[in-house]
């Protein structure tokens, strides 16, 4: 078997960086924003959705292998990629160069947001051992609290806008990098179409935020501890 050189590994890691941004991270983002928007229907529906996820078999494995490790890898490679480039958007102020710059900036912002987001939701959930049906009332309580202050709302707004932009523009970059979008017009049209996708995702997220902020309802576990199904 042929061993890969360091230079070939760097190429493969960069390709994997581009791929992990879409699968699984991009898919997860769509799923996450979509699932959370159940809150716009009602807190019971939202609780039902969160209960479903928290009672999934192999949840920890799915979270670690399909979400946490890919995000850590994508972030690490992202910082490496951003460090390699040299911004020149003030000298060459073309729209695409702005997107290039924003892609790197939003990547960093999303990373910081995720540290905050995971640190205030998943982390306390793990520490306090809120599993299965205990998870949703706990998480709903945290989100009600987060969305009750303007600082919390601002942090989430910046986080959601950055993540959805980063995904929409990253989808465009992925399509070029992997050779799915070739022609100049195709690149431009897809760029516009993907921005609409990003906008819809952003609105989805903001609508969920609004539902939490306008109607902070607490809930009890559907099944309490010791109660058999």
């Amino acid at each position: 078997m042929k061993t890969l050189s360091k230079s070939e590994i760097q190429f493969l890691l960069l390709k994997l960086h581009s791929l992990t941004g879409i699968i699984p991270i991009g898919l997860f983002l769509v799923f996450h924003l979509g699932f959370n928007s159940l809150r716009t229907v009602g807190v019971q529906q939202y609780q039902f959705g969160i209960d479903l996820i928290n009672n999934m078999p192999y949840l920890l494995w799915i979270e670690v292998l399909c979400i946490h490790i890919p995000i850590l890898f994508h972030s690490f490679m992202g910082f490496y990629v951003a460090y390699q480039g040299k911004f020149n958007v003030f000298r060459y102020a073309y729209p695409r160069n702005w997107m290039y710059t924003l892609q790197r900036v939003t990547g960093g912002v999303v990373f910081l947001f995720l540290v905050y987001h995971i640190g205030t939701t998943l982390f306390p959930k793990m520490i306090e051992g809120k599993h299965l049906f205990e998870a949703s009332p706990f998480l709903i309580g945290i989100m009600n609290e987060q969305m009750s202050t303007w600082s919390g709302r601002l942090i989430y707004l910046v986080g959601i806008l950055s993540a959805t932009f980063h995904f929409a523009n990253g989808l465009w970059g992925f399509c070029i990098s992997w050779g799915l979008l070739i022609g100049k017009d195709a690149q431009r049209n897809a760029g516009i179409a993907f921005m609409f996708v990003g906008l819809v995702l952003a609105l989805w997220g903001v609508a969920t935020m609004a539902a939490f902020a306008l109607d902070p309802v607490s809930v009890e576990p559907v099944f309490s501890k010791g109660m058999s199904l």
Binding site: N97, I176, S177, G179, L181, Q187
Partner: protein, 248 residues
């Protein structure tokens, strides 16, 4: 009363010297361009302070925007000095050497890296060796049109100067090389050595290092569809990668 034009030049006495700005005042001549102004400075190298200085050094050759050697940063943007008419330029005019290539002196830089990188990417078509390998296949009209667009690259370096991913100290190959690999891969005889051109692009500094800022196509004086070439090479390397990983 004749008008004058001020030209500010970022100078450097040798590759390791500290750069400094020097301003020259020249009488404005009709239809003058940056090269003709530099020639006027060479004839009478006296700066705005009236001091006689070393004449400014620059590169030029064809004087019709096809050789690429007079590429420099004019009023902050990279372009060819021979095609930069003085009249429409904002005054005072600033001239800087390209920043992504090793400095030689004043406005002169060493673009050798571009030519080495073209060599790496096998940017030529293999022709007869010790024996005649016969005529190549015919090329259809559409391919020839596309090939002509790509063939206009003069290795001037504008794309690299404006590229945020290309720096003095990294080994990124850059859009010009990707476009040339595409150019020779689309030629039926060149396509026989397709893999030889794709392999070097699938390493550190290769196609995966492109950040899609697309400045290259925006500044290219020949309007070469560089971003299309990048995407096309992206496609070719994707197929090559799948072939390498899962087929062979």
């Amino acid at each position: 009363m004749s008008q004058t034009v001020l030209i500010k030049i970022r100078r450097k006495d040798n590759p390791n010297a500290a750069p400094y700005w020097e301003t020259f005042e020249l009488p404005e001549k009709p239809f003058a361009n940056v090269i003709s102004c530099l020639q006027d400075i060479q004839k009478n190298p006296v700066n705005i302070g009236g001091v006689r200085v070393k004449p400014v050094v620059w590169d030029c050759n064809c004087l019709e925007e096809v050789c690429g050697s007079c590429t420099m940063v004019i009023n902050g943007k990279v372009r060819q000095a021979c095609a930069a008419l003085i009249d429409p330029l904002e005054k005072p005019i600033t001239l800087e050497p390209m920043s992504k290539f090793p400095a030689v002196r004043d406005l002169q830089v060493d673009r050798a890296r571009m030519f080495k990188d073209l060599e790496q990417a096998h940017a030529w078509i293999d022709i007869d060796g010790t024996h005649d390998i016969g005529e190549g296949p015919a090329i259809d009209q559409e391919t020839r049109h596309k090939a002509y667009e790509l063939s206009q690259c003069m290795t001037c370096g504008c794309c690299l100067e404006s590229c945020p991913q290309y720096t003095l100290d990294n080994n990124f190959l850059g859009p010009a090389v990707f476009s040339q690999a595409r150019y020779f891969n689309m030629h039926p005889t060149g396509a026989m050595h397709k893999d030889k051109r794709l392999e070097p692009l699938m390493k550190e500094g290769g196609i995966a290092n492109c950040g899609n800022a697309q400045n290259c196509a925006a500044v290219c004086p020949k309007h070469i569809p560089l971003t299309e070439s990048i995407a096309e090479i992206g496609r070719q390397t994707t197929f090559h990668l799948i072939k390498k990983l899962f087929v062979e």
